[in-house]
Symmetry: C2
Subunit: 422 residues, 2 copies
């Protein structure tokens, strides 16, 4: 070990990992500690350019304890979920040599060496955008690189799963299935890639970050209460989801958007239905979420075939998946018509991410928003009340790639000399 030759060193790895959105939902565990689900789930990985976690991990003989900083603020690593991930990774660590720096770490050294972890989300942590999924996936991916863990990505996913269930799906890009597995030790509860992000690259995703005044039930306690009290959840897990998984895999394979959309919407609604069937009931969607669903359903019905799929996780935010750039522009038109920004907002911070969708919709400024015509499907109806201020902002994005190492040291979050946050 380097201490022995008296030269101080810090070894660091930085990685970027995407978040993901389930289109067949994970809700309910059969093992709380190992985080083993009661059904398979399928997700779409979101483009890390718009939503991702960046994590730097470092090791040094000078570190006296494992430490972690999230968005610049130190956090405890004592929680069981962090400890489970760290233990699993240390058990699989291999020898590391860096002749240039004069570093040699043996497999046994990893038991005593401490790590520093710094993590940063490029989106608001509190917005309910699956930050823990990206976070744990990035922690496991980067530590595995640092520790020279020689397991394949699927094995790593089983470790990330023990941090946060949906994190296992963030280890791949594109379309990902989390297989629930059968083993008691969870070894076969892993994520696999169904197709990469290039397989179906005309999909466009618009996320409506919905304003909420309600404190939400955490998904951990929410799904526990559902499993304990809902009379419908077992029927969903055993009878409904297995068929939908087969159908969704087929829809993704064939780029069959109508089937993809119908399954996504139905499964999102059923997940919220079992939340409502919980005692006490759990409400994640609010009136704004309902209005977004009504807007999409009305439009899809008007067109005769689905233009857009919607899905909602454990919060009021809508994730809207448009068939292609053209329908995405039409969708954004509708969203801005129904949910214009507050009068003091500026369009540039109201629609973020891939702004070319805004250009495609022919909307350049607030004046254009105010001049938006009602979409044809509501023309005959009484003008709907506008939900000004009901949406905080929109994020335009698309399906994206899986985790990557960042070799550009300027992107590292830890100082390469001290191993402390920059």
């Amino acid at each position: 070990m380097a201490e022995e030759n008296g030269k101080k060193w810090v070894l660091m790895v930085t990685a970027q990992t995407p978040t993901n959105i389930a289109v067949i939902k994970y809700w309910g565990k059969r093992d709380e500690n190992l985080i083993l689900p009661i059904n398979d789930s399928i997700s779409v990985t979101l483009d890390p350019s718009h939503l991702c976690t960046t994590t730097s991990v470092a090791v040094s003989p000078d570190f006296t304890e494992d430490r972690m900083w999230l968005n610049g603020k130190e956090m405890s690593l004592l929680g069981g979920r962090y400890q489970n991930c760290l233990r699993e990774l240390r058990a699989r660590a291999s020898e590391v040599e860096d002749d240039e720096k004069g570093i040699k770490i043996t497999k046994k050294d990893w038991e005593k060496l401490h790590v520093h972890i710094a993590s940063y989300n490029n989106f608001p942590t509190a917005a309910g955008l699956a930050s823990s999924a990206a976070g744990f996936a990035c922690l496991v991916f980067s530590l595995a690189k640092l520790m020279n863990v020689k397991e394949d990505q699927s094995k790593l996913s089983a470790i990330a799963r023990q941090g946060s269930g949906s994190a296992c799906r963030s280890l791949y890009g594109g379309f990902v299935k989390w297989i629930m597995g059968k083993e008691e030790n969870g070894s076969d509860s892993v994520a696999v890639q169904l197709a990469d992000e290039k397989h179906w690259d005309d999909l466009v995703i618009i996320i409506a970050v919905v304003s909420s005044r309600q404190k939400e039930t955490s998904s951990t306690s929410g799904m526990r209460e559902t499993v304990e009290t809902s009379m419908l959840i077992q029927h969903r897990a055993k009878e409904v989801v297995p068929k939908r998984i087969v159908q969704m895999e087929e829809a993704i394979k064939n780029r069959d958007f109508p089937s993809f959309a119908r399954l996504s919407c139905a499964d999102s609604n059923q997940f919220h239905a079992v939340c409502l069937d919980t005692s006490p009931p759990i409400f994640y969607m609010n009136d704004t979420s309902h209005r977004i669903i009504s807007c999409v359903e009305k439009w899809n019905r008007f067109e005769g075939t689905p233009q857009v799929a919607y899905t909602f996780d454990a919060g009021p935010n809508a994730v809207l998946i448009a068939h292609n750039r053209k329908t995405a522009a039409s969708l954004l038109h509708r969203l801005l018509f129904h949910f214009p920004p507050s009068s003091d907002a500026d369009l540039n911070s109201y629609v973020i991410g891939d702004k070319t969708i805004l250009q495609d919709a022919g909307i350049q400024n607030m004046k254009d928003v105010q001049a938006l015509a009602p979409p044809p499907e509501i023309k005959d109806n009484i003008p709907t009340q506008k939900g000004q201020g009901d949406v905080s902002y929109f994020i335009c994005t698309r399906p994206g790639r899986g985790p990557v190492l960042l070799t550009d040291n300027t992107q590292a979050l830890l100082d390469p000399k001290t191993g402390l946050p920059k």
Copy 2:
């Protein structure tokens, strides 16, 4: 027949019928025409002093067609549901004699005689308070009296059921079960009384009429869509409800409020869950409904045992059933604290029905409302945002009696000479 002896006459009957609220819900038909449900349901009949329909029905040889007026406005009787009820009643009509007036109607005469019907709800029809249940029950009950139909109340309930499913439950006071039945012709799909209103007479009911800007799905089309598209409704109807029916009957028999409350709340939530599992999803509850549920759930949890049950029909209105007068006063305190009237409202029209509950709560005027202290269960939390204007008004009532004939002619809605609305 009276025409023959040249003397003109009008024979009239007036009746009053309550509305009812299901505590184990009816949702889904197995026969659309006969209105046969996919599961049993149980309801509480509401005191007709506060919520009822009054109907006058008259027959005269001078009437040239069947006519009906609802709340003073003439309505068509051509709909299949009215026609089914009229046909079933005519087929069971018996001889009527009134020597004083010189009236003699034979069984056969009823085939040719026409009726006039005038109906009036003592509550807003549009408020989503099961006006069609009370309406059809009253129509069938009063016509059966007029036509001297000799069937028992249960047989009449099977006729009312063909007008509006839940109407069959309004033919009894107290606690009522609608047995789904097995026969294809619906003859055994009838209501029976589980216990009369005196059996459990300390219950108090407060209805929150919730303001809504959404147009709601009618329950007829809503339940059809649920049966056609929900993957959970059959499991609910076949596996969940039968057990709950047994438990609810037991809870009512034993006046076991905690069980009554738990079952009512769980079944209301499950009904709304299967609505959400419908494609496209149906939302009847809104953010105000959710906040009322949270308020009750928090209070019940704080007390360690249920104080109040809630149940919601096909709309956002909350029906809250309090264990007794004392808990009802505490409930009203909480409701007025969380949902004060708009500043321009007056308390007298904001809390209607049995105003003694307001007195019990020690609230006499708007100043008292403004001075209400937060309930203990929220004391440690951040003060909740108040839902001023989110509730239109509250109705205080209780379980009540079944249909009655009104013999006081001043309450009749038709002129005894002309048979036209007064």
